[in-house]
């Protein structure tokens, strides 16, 4: 059902954990649906995502997508990171089963929320 890449990310997830003083934090999902993803980013002066962390309550696809996403956006500018879509994540994972596509949405959505949080803080 899952590709090898999905299983590899699931079994060895990258960038797991919390972050002290993140530049931005985002959370998407709710426990009743069995899916909650948190993403924290650290953005440097040039707008580049220097570090990113996630924590996920969810199924294999949700965890693997979160892990994959963090790898994809690390080192990118926030503008570039915003362009990474759910489909890009799924593609990079070698595809996801149809009924699991919604799980990969959470990661990108949580990242977007984290970036918005960062931007809001910038405005202040």
């Amino acid at each position: 059902m899952y590709s090898e890449k999905v299983m590899e990310h699931f079994n060895n997830p990258r960038n797991v954990g919390d972050m002290e003083d993140p530049s931005g934090a985002g959370e998407i999902g709710n426990v009743r649906c069995g899916d909650v993803t948190k993403v924290f980013i650290k953005v440097n002066g040039e707008g580049i995502i220097e570090d990113v962390r996630f924590r996920t309550f969810g199924c294999g696809a949700a965890i693997a997508s979160s892990s994959m996403l963090t790898e994809m956006v690390k080192g990118k500018t926030v503008e570039e990171a915003l362009k990474v879509s759910n489909l890009d994540v799924a593609d990079e994972l070698g595809g996801l089963p149809k009924q699991k596509m919604h799980c990969s949405n959470l990661a990108a959505d949580a990242l977007r929320a984290a970036i918005e949080d960062y931007m809001k803080k910038q405005e202040k």
Binding site: N11, D35, F57, G58
Partner: protein
Amino acid sequence: MERIYLDHGATTPLDPRVLEAMIPFLKEDFGNPSSLHFFGREVKKQLEEAREKVAGILGAEPEEIIFTSGGTEADNLALGGVVRALREKGKHIITTAVEHHAVLDTCTALKKEGFDITILPVDCYGMVEPQHVKEAIREDTLLVSVIYGNNEVGTVQPLEEIGQITREKGVLLHTDAVQTVGNLPLEVEKLQVDLLALSAHKFYGPKGAGILYCRQGIEIDRMLYGGGQERGRRAGTENVPGIIGMARAMEIAVEEKEENTRRMEKLRDKLIEGLLSMEDVYLNGHPTRRLAGNVNASFEYIEGEALLLSLDYKGIAASSGSACSSGSMEPSHVLLAMGIPEQTAHGSVRFTLGRHTTEEEIDYVLEVVPEAVQKLRDMSSIYQGKGEGK
């Protein structure tokens, strides 16, 4: 990697003795039982012997046995066949919130045909209250359908008490007994049921064969039209090797029932005890009135499928919720009906032990599960470290 199979609720390996019984019918005894000639007659004889064997185990008459393609067809035929045949006499069906989809979804379809469905609640162990059955029966009630041993949480229903009520009220009682062969009594008179569904591959028999017991005198509309097989109640050339194997598998399961049940219950209780010694882990289903091989536990802060994959990686095969719906992210309808919160329901995993499960396997599982759970909890966005709670 050594693999440990703890998903006997989904399906079981074919017993080599069953395969041996099937082989002649996969080779020289290939005739169509409907054929009048030698090739057909020989096979017909064996088919009828298999029917007698099955009937004997159920304490039934051979004419009361309908061979089907599996448990799903047996359940569908029981419900649809009976209420459609009786549609002049009423339109009400009673069932429970913890049935398999083969029953629940059939009820939903029958509702569209104009039947009324009452779905009875269960308590926190997944038990139906016989009194609720009594109160739900109406003038126009045709059929009550109650699962015998639950496929997800293993809870065993008080069928005999329910049967007494349906008999008094003159209403038919069907039971989905798919999970119970080799574990619980199957005599239909003892259970006081009028219809009973079984599926061979759940008791070390072949996939593609099932049984509907249908008490003599009950009118039942056929669901498959064509030849006159199964006394006109189920058309289609019989899956002869499958039926022969199923009868043999049932025979073995019943012969070895006491011993297997005792062994499995011991291992089951060890596994339960081990899992419950972890923090924030709950047993789902009844603590004692449960199938010998069933362990269903909820692991807080993590999602069941993720735990499943982690265990699979370590060589342990389990399932989250019912095998058939484990592809979707819907929390189990059975757990929800028991009043378990959605978050907790999402974190449930089922281990179903089998005849060949060993103590070493259980020990290994108890070694692996805590590690896997902790790893996922450490990753979880809703877990704040040991003892910190939700």
